[in-house]
């Protein structure tokens, strides 16, 4: 587009500058579009942090800003994971918070005091502008056409696959990580092209930043070695590769080890072994190259064969030995679930219980990438045509990321950049071909084989592929040009429409606040979450411990500012299982657990009144499964299903289900809202038993407006040493019956 507009200036002296200026303007506009399309949620709702994890990041950022970097680094958080606490400074990726903190202090230094919340809310859109820029740079390294880079930037700016994690308020690690990912790749390509230590060191620097920001850095850690490995296998070893890879690996590994959470993982865990292996391989290849120069070829062949076998055996044996002895950490569960999608469901329910770890459904690709999903293979194919070092990278990235995106929903995020790059390459090829105003000279076609165009073309393109043997000529007919260009323009339009629609409808809900439509079409805000969290904040003791399912831990910590038992940082499966057990057991079992953990309040989410399906009863089976993983004898998933295998909450619910604390807390007093016997659960669509559950060890403390959040207070021990059931019965007027007849031997009191 820029190229075509700039065409008329081509021959003028100012053409180059004008095109540069235009490019800058276009990139700025793209960044502007990227930022503004992410502001739907702020405009529609308010400047608020979204969802779950961002609340923790926000809280950590506030801590950083208030207490300074060093106390953040050594932060021991005593308000989560009660009573274990969390060594937060050593178990998080600090990049995001530090970035916001730096921006905050920079703005203050510039005498622009901006609230830290607004910085956090708007960080993701701001970085999406930078991501667009980085995509432009990366794509420009791949192809000569400048329009491809601009197209890629535009695609990246507005594609829903990336917007899903970077709308305003979505203050998550991915917000800055995608920018770092793309930019690191750009620097790597630059380093490989130039064989320069400078670019390699820059790659390492941004790789270090990426490590500090997101656990997905492992993707880079494996992709770059794979790229190097493939290049070696293709016989494309060069000193450039050696220089860029070794400088990246040495510096990058050192940089990544500075993050406490990563620590010694780069030399101990299996995920990092490929980078180390390729590093070693490169040394060997370099050595072999050196030897080859020095030795006659016959001896060299023998030496090489012996060397290859020896090194392979030694390194493989060493790796196996170290893994078996436990020096190198075995693969983690999340990693296994990347290869076997059924693995997590069987072995680690806590990983499977997170919706974003589920395999991707195929419509999601069209939803998130729209027309790019079919342009993407074309782009990858075009990379095959010339297959330079950097285009090999595109191919590898495309293959790996496609696989991972198919396995896990959240990894769609890593696929998006390469899809944008590849489809921009394809699309710009179409546009470059069809937007050429000049008609190719007719005679060149008539003259047949020995025309200068073919000679020129074959000089540029390698003739290894059949498709490149015939020269590119151009399009003759204006009609076909117009058709294709018009169709492309329509596709681009549709793409923009689709992206905007998806962003506005699917990805701009804060999920803290729910929006619904009233019958007259006006918007109605359901604000139960915040209502309940503020109730906790204002009505409970400062260190009242709240027990809830882990989904809400970060929000309670962030909005209610109260200690929680478990939260979204699911590092301790046993502790989560303890909460699961308390929720899924009878009151008599739950109460000692809650006493032991000093629980003051229990919070449940109940959507039965409103028809809000993301409630705790629907998540309940995960609690049961996770608890069953630790206490298989005490909690059994089977008991929560009816004999016919149904999960029911109505009259036919199993006794285990109806006696579980979660069921009781959800439906306690619920039937008082309805006429007798008419109580209806609108999520499960079932009529509830006429008589509601009774609670004895806890009492209702708060229920939000739409009954979405219900908070219960845990009672103290009975003053007179009775159990709560009999104390409750006594208060209701059921007097104890005197045991009329003694059974068995008399029980004597012993002092």
């Amino acid at each position: 587009m820029a190229a075509t507009e700039g065409d008329q200036f081509l021959k003028q002296a100012t053409g180059r500058n004008t095109r540069g200026l235009l490019r800058v303007i276009i990139l700025c506009l793209i960044a502007g579009a990227a930022v503004s399309s992410r502001l739907f949620s702020v405009i529609r709702f308010e400047s608020i942090i979204h969802e779950f994890d961002p609340w923790f990041n926000f809280r950590a950022t506030k801590y950083l800003v208030q207490n300074g970097f060093y106390s953040f680094w050594d932060w021991f958080d005593d308000r989560t994971w009660h009573p274990l606490g969390r060594v937060t400074g050593g178990t998080l990726y600090p990049g995001l918070m530090v970035t916001s903190g730096v921006i905050y202090h920079l703005l203050r230094f510039l005498t622009l005091p901006v609230d830290i919340r607004n910085i956090c809310v708007l960080l993701a859109p701001a970085f999406s502008g930078l991501t667009a820029l980085a995509t432009y740079l990366l794509t420009s390294e791949m192809v000569t056409s400048p329009s491809a880079g601009l197209l890629a930037a535009a695609f990246m700016g507005i594609t829903p696959g990336y917007i899903s994690r970077s709308v305003a308020g979505s203050y998550d690690n991915e917000a800055i990580a995608i920018f770092l990912l793309v930019f690191t790749f750009f620097l790597w390509i630059k380093a490989v092209k130039n064989g320069s230590v400078f670019w390699g060191a820059l790659t390492a620097l941004f790789y270090g930043y990426m490590v500090s920001a997101w656990g997905g850095y492992v993707f880079i850690t494996n992709l770059l070695p794979l790229h190097a490995f493939v290049l070696i296998c293709m016989g494309r070893y060069s000193p450039r590769l050696y220089v860029s890879y070794t400088s990246w690996y040495a510096l990058g590994t050192l940089a990544s080890m500075q993050i406490p959470f990563v620590g010694f993982l780069p030399i101990r865990s299996s995920e990092h072994m490929s980078a180390l292996g390729v590093f070693g391989l490169l040394q060997i290849v370099a050595f072999v190259e050196f030897v080859r120069v020095q030795l006659p070829s016959k001896q060299f062949q023998t030496l090489l064969r012996a060397l290859v076998v020896l090194i392979f055996v030694v390194s493989f044996g060493g790796l196996v030995l170290l893994t078996v002895t436990g020096v190198i950490a075995p693969w983690t569960g999340r990693f296994y679930s990347l290869w076997d999608t059924g693995y997590a469901k069987i072995h680690i329910p806590i990983i499977a219980s997170v919706s974003e770890h589920q395999p991707t459904a195929w419509p999601a690709f069209f939803f998130d990438l729209s027309m790019m999903i079919w342009l993407f293979p074309a782009g990858v194919y075009m990379c095959f045509r010339s297959l330079t070092d950097e285009q090999v990278f595109i191919v590898i990235y495309a293959v790996l990321a496609s696989y991972f995106a198919g396995v896990m929903v959240r990894l769609m995020l890593t696929l998006t950049p390469i899809v944008c790059v590849a489809s921009a390459i394809a699309f710009s090829q179409i546009l470059d071909t069809y937007l050429d105003v000049k008609t190719p000279k007719a005679e060149s076609n008539e003259n047949g084989t020995s025309d200068p165009a073919k000679v020129a073309a074959s000089a540029i393109l390698p003739d290894s592929l059949r498709s490149t043997r015939n020269p590119l000529v151009g399009i003759y007919s204006y009609a076909s040009k117009l058709t294709v260009v018009g169709a492309s323009a329509v596709y681009l339009m549709l793409f923009v429409l689709h992206c905007t629609w998806v962003t506005s409808n699917a990805y701009s809900s804060p999920s803290v606040v729910l929006a619904s439509r009233l019958p007259d079409g006006s918007q109605h805000i359901i604000d139960d979450y915040r209502e309940a969290y503020y109730w906790l904040r204002q009505n409970t003791a400062d260190n009242a411990k709240i027990m809830s399912w882990w989904d809400y831990g970060y929000q309670i910590g962030g909005m209610a500012d109260r200690p929680t038992l478990v939260d979204n940082n699911t590092w301790n499966n046993t502790h989560i299982a303890t909460v699961g057990k308390a929720m899924s057991s009878r009151e008599e079992v739950s109460y000692p657990i809650m006493r032991q953990h000093e629980v003051d309040y229990v919070l449940v989410v109940f959507g039965g009144l409103l028809g809000y399906s993301g409630d705790d009863i629907n998540k309940f089976l995960w609690m049961v499964r996770i608890a069953e993983g630790i206490w298989p004898d005490e909690v059994k998933e089977r008991n929560f299903f009816t004999p016919r295998g149904e999960y029911r909450v109505d009259d036919e619910a199993t006794p285990t289900m109806r006696n579980s604390l979660m069921y009781k807390m959800s439906y306690y007093n619920y039937n008082s809202l309805f006429p007798a016997g008419q109580a209806q659960d609108r999520v499960r669509g079932s009529r509830l038993p006429a008589e509601g559950p009774q609670l004895s060890t806890i009492e209702e403390a708060f229920t939000s407006e739409n009954w979405i959040i219900r908070i219960y207070k845990v009672k103290d021990l009975d003053n007179f040493g009775r159990d709560h059931q009999s104390a409750g019965a006594f208060d209701k007027g059921h007097k104890k019956k005197r045991a009329s007849k003694r059974k068995g031997a008399r029980v004597l009191r012993v002092e």
Binding site: G85, N719, G733
Partner: protein, 465 residues
Amino acid sequence: MRWFFSFLCAALLGLSSALSSSGSRLLVVLEDVAEKGSYGGFFGDLEARGFHLAFETPKSPSLALLKFGELAYDHLLLLPTKAKGLGPALTATQLLEFMKKEGNILLALSGDHGTPTAVQSLLLELDIHLPSDRNSLVVDHFNYDGESAKDKHDVVLVPFPKVVRTDVKDYFGGEGVIAVPRAVGQTLGNESPLLAPILRAPSTAYSYNPKDESEIVEDPFAVGAQLNLVSAMQAHNSARLTILGSAEMLQDAWFEAKASLNGKAITTANRDFVAKVSGWTFKELGVLKIGKFVHYLDEGVSKKVNTSSAIPENNPSIYRIKNDVTFQVPISEYVSTHWTPYTPPSGDNIQLEFSMLSPFHRLNLSPLSQTANATLFGTTFKTPDQHGIFNFRVDYKRPFLTNIDEKRQVTVRHFAHDEWPRSWQISGAWVWIAGIWVTVGAWVGFIALWLYSAPTEKVGGKKTQ
């Protein structure tokens, strides 16, 4: 010293108004206000000890234990009534409600009248059991009063009780013999730690219904020491309930009565015993008070700062693992008129738990010093090698002493990044440090050698081997 002043104020207040540690308003509920003459001596003693007595009958419309949800009286003395019901103001629920607000009850039963249903269900709720037939009495054919119960053997003479366990303080000991006429025996459930016997029947006593026609008692309600004449229950909030098997014990007639035990003439010591029982019930005895928890970091600079002043600086809310921590707490005991330093009975210790889910430390607190009103207990320990949210907890629950269960939450954090020893301080690391520097030195040396031995430009064309 603030707690000392509060002690002083509390003591002064106590002197001026009442001698009980928890208030002086005492309600006496009896069948007929005119009946109070027979308890004159007991009431006189109570008034002399500073109680303000109010008398009501169960039927009185003005009778209410709670007023606007608060206690109308601090203590309640329930004397036996003839009626089977006690009226709407004295239901079992009301009585429990009264105790939930820390009201104390002295409940006197009588074999003559039968026990009201409200009291029966109250006791049943608390796991205290009475004989099922109305007229059962405690009878002893060996330790009876030869004067007044020569034939019926239903006035049991018992010595003052001894402590049942070595780690329990003796509040009811004394010299002499107590007459327990026509008592309703109680048995206590075995489960509840809140119950304790005060006066147990002699080993030869048993529960017997005199209206029973048969010669032999087939299955007595309880016999011997299982049968309690006076028993006590102390709720978690330290509200006290004492069941006195025989209301007649309180009457003037038995205060210093002449009696004969196995032919020996004696004088009963009921007045002394009853004073002790009522004193305990109405919280003149066995009341503990715990002062402010003081804990501080007992190492490095802070050690000097803290020990220099009487009260160390504010209790920190966060420690590190493996810190030396000192913990101190003053505990005082109320004795009749004032707060005194508490000394646990020999064989008993006050313990400090440092716990997260379960105790990591359970340490005996040793007495460090005494003030006029309190003993300062303390200990020093090292925080465990486990970070988390811990509690300093003093959980001291003993029979006849008010319950102490206090905890303070502190955080125990991990080592900060700059609190580890530096690498050169670890002798094991010297090999590796040496390795690093040797590598660096070798590299620099190699470069120097390389540069030194580089062929000069001029010779450039011909490379010498």
